[in-house]
Structures are given as structure tokens and as C-alpha cells.
Amino acid sequence: MAEVQSAGGGADFDLSQFYEIFFEEAGENLDQMEKMLLSLDLTQADDEELNGIFRCAHSIKGGAATFGFSDVAELTHHMESLLDKLRRHELQPAPSMVDVLLESADASRSLLARHQAGGEGDSLDTSDLVRRIAGLAAGQAAPAPAPARAPAPVAVVAVEPAVSAPLDEEPEASPQPAAEAPAPAPAAPPGTRSLEIHVGPLERPEQAEAVRELFRDIPGLGTIEALPSPQPDMRAFAVETASSDEDLLDLFVFHVSKEQVRILPRAPQEPVDPDEIEAQAAARRPFGFFHDAPGSPIASFGLFEGAPGVPEGAQAGGAQSEQSSASAPRTAAAPKSAQTALEASSIRVSVSKVDQLINLVGELVITQAMLAQNSQGLDPSQYQQLMSGLADLDRNTRDLQESVMSIRMIPMSTVFSRFPRMLRDLAGKLGKKVDLVTQGEATELDKSLVEKITDPLTHLVRNSCDHGVEAPDVRIAAGKAETGTITLSASHQGGSIVIEVRDDGRGLSREKILKKAVERGIEVNDQMSDSDVWGLIFAPGFSTAETVTDVSGRGVGMDVVKKNINSLGGSVDIDSVEGYGMKVSVRLPLTLAIMDGMSVRVADEVYILPLSSVIESFQVEPETVSTIAQGSQLVKVRSDYMPVVALDKTFQVPRNGDAREANIMVVVEADGSRVALQVDELLGQHQVVVKNLESNYRRVPNISGATILGDGKVALILDTGGLVRRARY
């Protein structure tokens, strides 16, 4: 459970049940904010975008304050202030603002993650970020203040003493709050007053302690020290603060009513500009505390006198009557345009529910297959209705299956979304200029793939940025545009999804790769095709980079990428032209869970082959098989020789004394190579529901999963890639 700061003491209300919803929501808001910040056109900032970004920060702040995450609330409060000025056009957007807001979004994420994990350990120090934001917020003097803001002097009066400091420089004499202030700050902010505050008579004097806590919890409020109690039911404090009396009373009133508080000056104070105090108080707008102050200008709740809906004789509650002022300006609270980030026509469903649904549909497919199997021997003329019903069932099940599988399909945009930011940071770090183009964001893929494809793709993009795209001056010297382009695209091709990472950089050097391969003892020759040469870079530890940046180039990348993609049932290919660029194509099966399979019999056991890897099958003719060293065999298929994998030997299938009748060869292809699997009999082709073997057991070599046959028994699905690799190396 996340730690809770004292944001209101409602003892009967356990707000922690809402934390998870809030964390998820805040995460989405941060994603949205980041996306909008990155696409913001600084020269012509779109009003709606600015408003949208503001609302994201505002929403997070509200939730954080309500649920007691005051560190997040504080940071987002500052972000919100800066964004508020931007959306009101009091400030011009600048790249440094985008930078600090992006960094602050990152910091907010960390702070939230810490809370979500239970709040252990030290909190991130955000004081530097806060200083920078405040500096930017003040750095540019506002143009003539908008008339509607007349009541609040904030826009007119220079808020911070550091107003004359140039952008990005840290203001000295920082009026910004120290993160925790139990001890008096060394330099008291300007406008500080010394006060003596008496609290009482109190039913429970401890209530006054809560007042002291306020000073600890609100950054910048001031300092407080206990004084000897004037009476048993009274408490007294010495306070240094820049806040006005009214502000203090507002704060205290949550714990003690106004009538119980007396504020007295303690030492002669210089006359202070009330506007400046107001401005500073407004700038350090307290939040996260509940006020109830009858007659106070900053009330926490109030009813408009004479407004519709106010019951007869109802007290105006927490506020003085609000007289409608004839000069009250009509503020621009007009209904916003139809732009909305909210999809009110979708619902959230937990992943486990979807998985359960898919499992059940899978069961249905199996049962339907069993019915189909069992009804094969029936006389159609006798059982016409039954057969026709079964045919309908077949169709319906297929449709249902497709529908259900599509629930788990999400668009590639979710994978692509992290790259703009990543590339921006990376290109900046490497001193390169790179544009990112994405295509086919709407292309969908299965949710489970999304998680697994992100790392390999990230590596490929980093590679392109680091090794592919050249430095600006190198590009210009080569007659290219200064800014390189990396293109991420996704499309459906057949039963697969193809994702490409293309760059217009320097491309691969055949020479260098061959040289490196020789150095590493890999066998190569000059006649190798280009694609074979490019394939060499998938060897472990292979890297032709001259310098190893901390980004990539340690040579641990490409082989892991290939392995990851292979384990998803996919393949990777490289295409390159030296000097022009490089393209990496990743091909993945569209769904993992349902597969077209070919079932084969080996002795008494049934195994399933992925139909997509089956090339052909034929009856063995002994003359075509030759035995070579160590008992391995080759079979001649037309003009090619390929290794034979006898499944009964690979899986040590017991034959129980029966004669070996392994007469059928099935040619399968994986990883660009072919082998012939030797089996007893081909049983048929059908769709199978793929079940995970590793969830309750472990990874088994040469087996990629399991399925349940029509008779309820489990059959193992062969990992053709594994079998091919075994046979060839």
C-alpha cells in the first residue's frame, strides 16, 4: 500500500482502494502530456494542444493531492503553473520549457512508481526541477495582462525576485520551498513576518499540534516553534511566515476554528507591500488542505446566495455572500470544441478476463473439432440436419474465434509511441539530427507480441541512430540532407505482420563485415550473397562499430534481437546498400494462440507441426536416403540434399516391439534452412489452440508448445526452428 500523507483525515474512508486506478490514470496522462509536448509546434502553438497539456498536469495534480501523494502534487502543481501561463499566452513556448516539462514528467513517473511500489526508500529530489520551472515561468515578463485577470495581481507584479535572471539560470535567493523544513531556512524569504500565534481554548490541545504539522507539510509556508503555553488549554507558537493572516487562518481552520486563533505580531515588522504578499502567497498556492473559513476570501466551499438550488434558509455555509457584480466579466468558459481525448464508447476490460474468454473459445474449438471428427462416419442422408447443424457450428466457431482473437489485437501505435521521445533524447546525446517517420500505426498485432517486440525494435532503432545515421557534417559531405530519417513501418502480409526499421544512413559495409567475420573465425567466402553477408551480423558478439558507445555497439544486440524474434515464431532479414542506408524487416505470426497445424504420428504418439513451416511431404524411397558420418542421414529431394530428422529417435519414442514403419518424410523450413522429418503417418491438418507448456512445466527442447486434441489428449507442438538448427549444426 502506498504511503499516505495527511491529506484530510477522513477516518472512515479508505482511499487506498482508488490508488491503482489513479496510478493508471496518471500514467496515461503523463503519456498524453509527453506526446503532446513532443508534437508541439513552438512557433505556432496550438491553443487546444496547450490546453490539453495543461489539463493533463492539472488532472494529475488534483488526483495526487486528493490521494495524498504530495511530492507528485507539488511537482505537477509547478508544471501546471507554467502550462497555465503558456495556455493564457502570457509566455512564449520555448524549447527549454519543453525540456523541463518532459523531464518533470519523467520525474513524476518515478515518484508515482515509488508510491505504487509501497513508498520505500528515498523520494526523488525534485527541487532542482522546481527551480528551473519557476525560473522559466518568471523569466519572461508577461505582456499586458489580460483584463479578465484584473482581480489577481499576480500577472502585474514581478513575482519572484529572480525575475531579471535570464532563462535557465537558477534564481538566487530562491523563494522556492526546501523539500523539508523543520529547521528555519538560512535566508528568510522577503516579506517574512514574525508572529506569535495563540491557539485555544481547545478541547483537545493536541489539535494545535496539527497546526505545527501544517508548517512541516506545506513547503514555503514558513517556520514554527512552540512557545510556553499561556494556559493549560492553550498553545502558543512563534511563527515566521510570508503568508497573510487570512491565509494562515484558512489553513488552521481545518483543525481549529477561526475564533480559537489569535495572531499577534512578535517583532516590529517592516511595512510590506500587501500586493507582493498576495502575489507570493498565490504563487505558493497551498493545496492538499481543506479549508473551511466563514467570511474568508479564500473559502473552501460556498453557496451563492439566491442561486437556484439553494434550499430555503440554508446557511451560505462556508462563504460570505457573493454579490453578483455587474462588471463580472464573462469568462471564456464556453463549451470546448469537440476535440476530446476521451473515448466514451469503449470500456476497460482486465487482461485476465480476455484471456479467460480466449481460453473458453479455444475449448469450444476443440469440442467442435471433436464433434466434426466423430460425425465423419455418419451417413449424411440419414443425419442431414445434424450434419448441416455441424457445418453451421463450424462456421460460427471460426467466426467467434476470429472475433475473440481480435480483442487482443492492439494497434502498432502503442509500440511506436515510445520512439519519438527515445529518438529525440538519443539523437541529442549523439549529436545527430534524425527525423522519425512512422507508417502503418493502425496495423494491429496481438497484445502479447507487443510486449515482446518492443525491446528488439528499440535495439534496432538505436542501432540505426547510433551506427546508421551519420553525423550532420558527414552527411553533408556525402551530399545527403543534414537530417537523417529513420522510418518505422508495420503492415500485414499474409498471415504475418511485417515491421520494418529503415534508415538513410551509411548502410552496411560488406568489406568490413567479411573482415570481421574472418577475424572471428567464421567461415566466409567472396561468393557469398549480400543477404548472407548481412546475416553474419547476427552472430553473437559481432559488431563492426569502431567505438562502443554506451548505447549500442557492444555487440550484444543483434544476436539477441534475432533470438527474441525467432522465439516469437518470427524471422529477421536485413537489406542494405552501402552509402544509402539499411532496412531490417521483422516478420511475426499474427497470433500466437491459434495455429494451423499438421498432425503426424510417430509410433503411438501424435505430434503437431506448424503448417506454415511445412513445404511438402512424400513417401520415402530408400534409394534417395544416404547415411553419412555418425549415423546421420541425408535425403535427396529433387536436386537438393537435406538432413533427415527421425522423430522417433529425436524424441525416443518407444516402439513396443512393433516394426518401424517410418515411411513418410515431411520437409519443413525454418531459419532459411530445410530438413526432412521422418514420421510414420500424416494424420491431417487442422487448426490447433496453442497452449503454453512453460507456465506449469518448463521449456522443452524442440517443443514450442502443446495443444489439446479432439479426444482431450495433449499433443506436443514441434519447434521446427529448433529441429532445423539441431540438424544443421
Binding site: G8, G10, D12, F13, L15, F18, Y19, I21, F22, E24, E25, R55, H58, S59, K61, G62, G63, A65, T66, R149, P151, A152, F287, G288, F290, H291, D292, P297, I298, A299, S300, F301, G302, L303, F304, A307, P308, G309, V310, P311, A314, Q315, G317, E322, S324, S325, A328, P329, R330, T331, A333, A334, P335, K336, A338, Q339, T340, A341, L342, A344
Partner: protein, 120 residues
């Protein structure tokens, strides 16, 4: 039983408010923004509207204005939830015809107190 229309684009806030109010014996209708709230108000029985101010599509004050134009909601209590309590905000709220306001963040028990002042 009184029926409250709770409007907020933040799911966590909405859930929290809804939970608090149902716990206190109110029936709650949730809406994700002003537009959604306005549509729901047409068909549901509503005794009080509790609306966040800052929302996309249609904000709290905008919603108030639209509701007040409908005779059915001429006298329905409408409370705006806001993180600001500036005079400007209050004036806008009043001009739109809101019944009152409540500053966020608030204590859940305070919410109930406030509502009880308005509908009994």
C-alpha cells in the same frame, strides 16, 4: 433516495466520489465529461449535480449553463468542484447559475457534509 450526477474526467476521482456518495446512501450516476453528463441528465432522475470544472468537451461551468436553460433543471442544485477558488472562477460559476462550489482536493466526509446542506 437522492440521485446525484457525478461528473469528472478523472476515473480515480470519479470512482472515489461515487464510492463516497453511495456509501452515504445516495444513488450515483457517473459521467466522464460535461457532454456526457448533459446527455445522461436528459434521461435520469437527478437531484443534484456534482461537476468537476476542468474537463474536456464541456467543462463544469459550461454544463451548468446548458442545464439551467432546461426548465427541468432550473432549480437543481449544481456544485462545481474546482482546484481554484479565485474570484473570477466564482463569478463565472455564479453567472452560469451554479448553486455553489467546492475546492479540490477535499475530504470525503466534507463532501457529504456539503451535499447534506443542499439536499435533505
Amino acid at each position: 433516495m437522492f440521485s446525484i450526477l457525478a461528473v469528472d474526467d478523472s476515473p480515480s476521482m470519479r470512482k472515489m466520489v461515487s464510492f463516497t456518495l453511495t456509501g452515504a446512501g445516495y444513488h450515483v450516476v457517473e459521467a466522464v465529461d460535461g457532454q456526457d453528463a448533459f446527455e445522461k441528465a436528459q434521461t435520469e432522475k437527478i437531484d443534484l449535480v456534482l461537476a468537476d470544472q476542468n474537463m474536456p468537451r464541456l467543462d463544469g461551468i459550461g454544463l451548468t449553463r446548458m442545464l439551467r436553460e432546461n426548465p427541468k433543471f432550473k432549480n437543481t442544485p449544481i456544485l462545481i468542484l474546482t482546484t481554484e477558488s479565485s474570484d473570477q472562477m466564482k463569478q463565472a460559476g455564479r453567472a452560469a447559475g451554479a448553486t455553489g462550489w467546492l475546492v479540490k482536493p477535499f475530504d470525503p466526509s466534507r463532501l457529504i457534509e456539503v451535499i447534506q446542506k443542499v439536499i435533505r
